[in-house]
């Protein structure tokens, strides 16, 4: 597929749509959107950046670009690193949706918030705390405050409630989408002109889910309704330490298996290994041996259950149940029961774990100079195998074996996220990381594991393996994006 490199005439057309202050091909402005980190290392500088404010402007931009065969990459917050940038050259237009930042409605009775793409996690969180303190949005748990609610929907990410209620994609009810063919489609119950966004499946079938994980490759979402959940005041974190990922996996599954009650109270269930702590500091300014971390009370592996309850009594019960299940597991079923023990967290540690949104995942560049999250989904009871395999591959390449794992929907899925800390100033480090990514992808696809946010170069094999699925994905894309202009390269499309 070939695309046109936009020229001055195309810039004029964009200016005609959004006004001269909101479209630019200034080279410093276009370069400023670049990112080669977090999720994607390969990315291109856009040729033009456009900052629309209204759905109608987006419609006109897409119709124009489609007619001219100019690639379009949308971003809401742009925090998915390289994934927020174009993947190909000519890179075309980058649509920065940050100006569309209105919180349009909060409905406590029906429990949803309607947001535009530019509404950030931090902004919505602060707004709800101020005006709807008993309710909270399912914002990405570890993403920085400038990430958006919308971007996380399209990434079908991992949020504060997903351990309890299910994948982030399920938290979104209805959306307004502009397709490059010029159609504006409202999904779910919103398909009817006067309906509230109260039923995701609408008049059926559910079209919105098709956009989940679309990475901007199908259309531009201009409005979405996201569920909100209770924000009770009774909260704490229960943590257990262990010596290996298998005990972490199996104990967590026992709690998740309860399905009702305590499994629903544990809104955020996440764990990992001690290098998760170590690599938040510069590598020459922190001891590397586990002995040091042991001495300061950090387990080799651990699992945290962040528990929310409507009353103190209910919270106490949840804590007690998790602890007694853990004791029983330690005594009767653990691989290394002797090493298992409750991790008594300091109140400050608890408070810092419960802070939303936070910057907890930002300082992994501090270790060296750059990092990459490579995230996979596995069935929960295979996450320990994933961790073991991945960590071994990292160590082989002299990369610290940093592993973070969380439960989705009461241990139906695991989201496994190795954090690759490396020196991004060095070409050889780039190559090392890509080699690690390729080798582990091959292993993981053979095991039937899924890359969470597939990159267009390595993880893309997954689409080739899912041939029939991909055929229909292409067909749907052709329908809504006949000239294949949306974020080319994403999802192995076009």
């Amino acid at each position: 597929m070939s695309y046109k490199a936009p020229d001055e005439k195309d810039l004029e057309a964009m200016i005609g749509i959004v006004g001269k202050n909101y479209a630019s091909n200034n080279k410093a402005i276009t370069a400023s959107y670049l990112a080669k980190s977090v999720m994607g290392l390969e990315s291109q500088i856009p040729d033009i950046v456009v900052r629309p404010k209204y759905t109608e402007e987006i419609r006109k931009i897409l119709i124009y670009c489609s007619a001219e065969k100019i690639a379009v990459s949308p971003i809401s917050g742009g925090l998915s690193g390289g994934f927020a940038c174009p993947t190909i050259k000519p890179a075309g237009v980058l649509l920065d949706l940050g100006r569309m930042n209105r919180i349009l409605e909060i409905d406590e009775a029906n429990r949803y918030a309607i947001v535009e793409p530019g509404v950030t996690n931090g902004g919505l969180w602060a707004y709800m705390e101020k005006y709807h303190p008993d309710w909270a949005p399912p914002i990405a748990d570890g993403a920085p405050p400038a990430a958006t609610v919308m971007g996380d929907a399209i990434d079908r990410g991992f949020s504060l409630y997903t351990s309890s209620v299910g994948p982030q994609g399920d938290n979104f009810m209805c959306a307004e989408i502009v397709f490059p063919n010029g159609d504006v489609v409202r999904t779910g119950s919103w398909a009817l002109p006067f309906a509230k966004p109260f039923y995701k499946f609408g008049i059926g079938p559910d079209m919105w889910s098709f956009l989940m994980g679309s990475q901007g490759a199908l259309g531009v979402v201009t409005k979405a309704a996201v569920k909100i959940y209770p924000h009770p005041k009774h909260k704490t974190v229960v943590a257990w330490g262990m010596s290996n990922p298998y005990d972490m996996q199996d104990l967590t599954l026992e709690v998740g298996h309860q399905e009702f009650g305590i499994s629903h109270n544990t809104v955020m269930v996440q764990g990992g290994n001690y290098p998760l702590v170590m690599t938040r500091w510069p590598k020459d300014k922190v001891p590397h041996e586990y002995e040091f971390f042991k001495e300061i009370g950090i387990p080799e592996w651990w699992m945290n259950w962040e528990c929310w309850a409507q009353t103190q009594e209910e919270l106490d019960y949840v804590v007690k149940r998790i602890n007694s299940m853990a004791e029983d597991f330690k005594k009767n079923r653990a691989k290394d029961g002797a090493a298992m023990k409750p991790w008594e967290l300091h109140p400050k540690q608890i408070a810092s774990r419960m802070k939303k949104p936070n910057k907890i995942a930002v300082p992994y560049s501090f270790w060296d100079a750059g990092f990459l999250f490579i995230t996979w989904y596995t069935p929960w009871n295979e996450c320990a195998e994933f961790a073991e395999m991945y960590n071994a591959e990292m160590e082989k390449r002299d990369i610290p074996p940093v592993m973070w794992i969380a439960s989705i929907e009461r241990c139906r899925q695991a989201i496994c996220m190795p954090i690759i800390c490396f020196d991004s100033t060095k070409d050889e480090d780039f190559e090392k990381v890509q080699d690690l990514n390729a080798v582990t992808t091959e292993y993981s696809l053979k095991r039937g594991w899924l890359n969470y946010r597939p990159d267009p170069f390595i993880h893309i094999q997954a689409y080739y393996q899912a041939g029939m699925y991909w055929k229909y994905l292409r067909a749907f894309k052709k329908l809504v994006d006949p000239n294949m202009i949306m974020h080319p390269g994403r999802l192995a499309l076009p």
Binding site: N21, S24, N26, K27, A28, I29, A31, S32, Y33, L34, A35, S37, V38, I45, V49, R51, G77, G78, L79, G81, A84, D96, R99, N121, G122, W125, A126, E129, K130, P144, P145, A146, W281, P282, K285, V286, P287, I296, K355, K356, P357, N358, K359, V362, P363, S365, F366, A369, G370, F371, D423, S424, T425
Partner: protein, 461 residues
């Protein structure tokens, strides 16, 4: 040999490549979206919710494009280093309207020295042959000709001292202590210079005003004209070489001498004297119970707030942090110490304000964004000279914040902040009184000396 901007940019390469474009650096309190504040306030520049995190990069707020927020500039720097972008006037016009306030740096969990990077980027841009903008070229011409960017006559630098009857301190050869006045206090806010010198006099300090003093170079380090800046630096180092300690009343000059000079001096060279801001001395004398303040009926009950100048507040705090990180062997252990040191640093002006509250009866009320999260006054980074409208709008945003806490008096400790805040106060009718703390002390004759400071008090730190 003098360092070039490109040398500095290359030295900073690893820091630049740490940026993950997380954009936390847009906000004050970026890690505290649930922080309680004073709620919504409708000011002269619009409505701000002083609650949780708040957009606080003046350049980003003014221009909106990603390139003007800090993260954008870091990726511009990276694009330059990797050859994806070349310096042009287009690039210059994006990297210049930044106040180098350092609010971005204070937010970065990867501890990226953003101001250093932005300044080096500008220096490299100038070296590449891209001309200065006209307004900057003008001040560059003036300083080259007259040693100050205001165009004041060089021989009138200490006219204020002579007029105020302080001429005995000019070229006072046997003093071991110097007061570096700076251009703004010498030619514009002479009340700051007079207040500071009189305070020193009242404290019995034997100090000198050195006639060979020239502009500290701050504006030129900020705008990337580092050749001019380094020439001025050399002149000052020569002029002040015989004193043991230099006091300052200007945040920018203090920062330039203390933080910039050592960075741009030749490898292994050190400042030949100690440096300190006058407010540090006053705070120490309060803590040692050597001075207190007299009651004042006019000030009693007045709501006073304090604006932390970026140059004395955040820039020092960040520099302290970077130095302590460099020295640390185990940062996990030392990070608490670093935080404590930074907290203590920001407390210094507050020691004075709290004492004024206790003795004079002012009501000291903090704005929402303070200390590391303070919002800039808009004057620095060459912005006041180059982009005066943007500069004054930013100052007005800060005055709005002072209005939001019901302040009668907005104090600060930098003549450059003072000037911008005052001008904006007038232009946008904020109805505040803008005052330097030391100026308040001398103008209202508040100083009550219990015990004269010793030589150790004056020469220490």
């Amino acid at each position: 040999m003098a360092k070039t901007g490109m040398d500095r940019l290359n030295e900073l390469k690893k820091e630049i490549f740490k940026c993950i474009h997380c954009k936390a650096c847009r906000f004050a309190y970026s890690g505290e979206p649930s922080r309680k504040g004073i709620g919504e306030f409708k000011g002269k520049q619009g409505t701000v919710l002083y609650e949780g995190m708040v957009d606080s990069c003046p350049a980003g707020i003014e221009y909106g494009w990603e390139a003007f927020w800090n993260a954008g500039k870091i990726w511009i720097a990276r694009s330059i280093l990797s050859g994806d972008l070349e310096f042009t006037e287009e690039v210059r016009d994006v990297i210049l309207p930044c106040i180098t306030c350092g609010q971005c740096s204070a937010q970065c969990e990867n501890k990226i020295p953003t101001v250093d990077i932005i300044e080096s980027l500008r220096a490299a841009c100038v070296e590449s042959g891209v001309p200065l903008i006209d307004k900057h070229a003008l001040v560059d011409g003036l300083v080259k000709e007259r040693n100050n960017p205001y165009g004041g006559a060089a021989d009138e630098r200490f006219k204020w001292a002579k007029d105020a009857g302080l001429d005995k301190f000019v070229n006072n050869k046997d003093a071991k202590i110097a007061y570096y006045v700076g251009c703004t206090a010498s030619y514009r806010q002479i009340e700051v210079a007079i207040a500071t010198a009189k305070l020193f006099e009242q404290l019995g300090m034997n100090f000198t005003l050195i006639e060979d003093e020239v502009c500290c170079g701050s504006p030129f380090f900020r705008i990337g004209e580092v050749n001019t800046a380094q020439t001025l630096m050399k002149k000052n180092l020569e002029a002040f070489k015989n004193v043991k300690k230099v006091y300052f009343s200007c945040a920018g000059c203090y920062r330039t001498f203390t933080i910039d000079y050592p960075k741009w001096m030749a490898e292994g060279e050190k400042l030949p004297f100690k440096t300190q801001h006058a407010f540090e001395l006053v705070a120490k004398l309060i803590q040692d119970k050597k001075i207190k303040f007299k009651p004042n009926a006019e000030l009693k009950g007045k709501v006073v707030t304090y604006h932390d100048p970026c140059h004395t507040g955040r820039h020092f705090a960040i520099d302290m942090e970077q130095e302590m990180i460099k020295e640390s062997k185990n940062l996990m252990f030392d990070s608490r110490k670093i935080k404590q040191k930074i907290d203590e640093w920001f407390e210094i002006p507050r020691i004075i304000l709290k004492k004024l509250e206790e003795d004079v009866g002012i009501v000291f009320k903090e704005m929402y964004r303070i200390k590391l999260n303070s919002m800039c006054c808009g004057a620095g980074g060459g912005v006041r000279a180059g982009y005066p409208d943007f500069s004054l709008r930013t100052a007005s945003l800060r005055c709005d914040e002072a209005n939001a806490v019901g302040a009668d008096i907005l104090t600060t400790e930098c003549p450059f902040c003072w000037r911008n805040l005052s001008d904006s106060n007038e232009l946008y009718e904020h109805d505040l009184m803008v005052l330097g703390i030391l100026q308040m002390i001398t103008e209202y004759e508040l100083l009550d000396i219990l015990q004269k400071p010793t030589e150790a008090d004056l020469l220490g730190k």
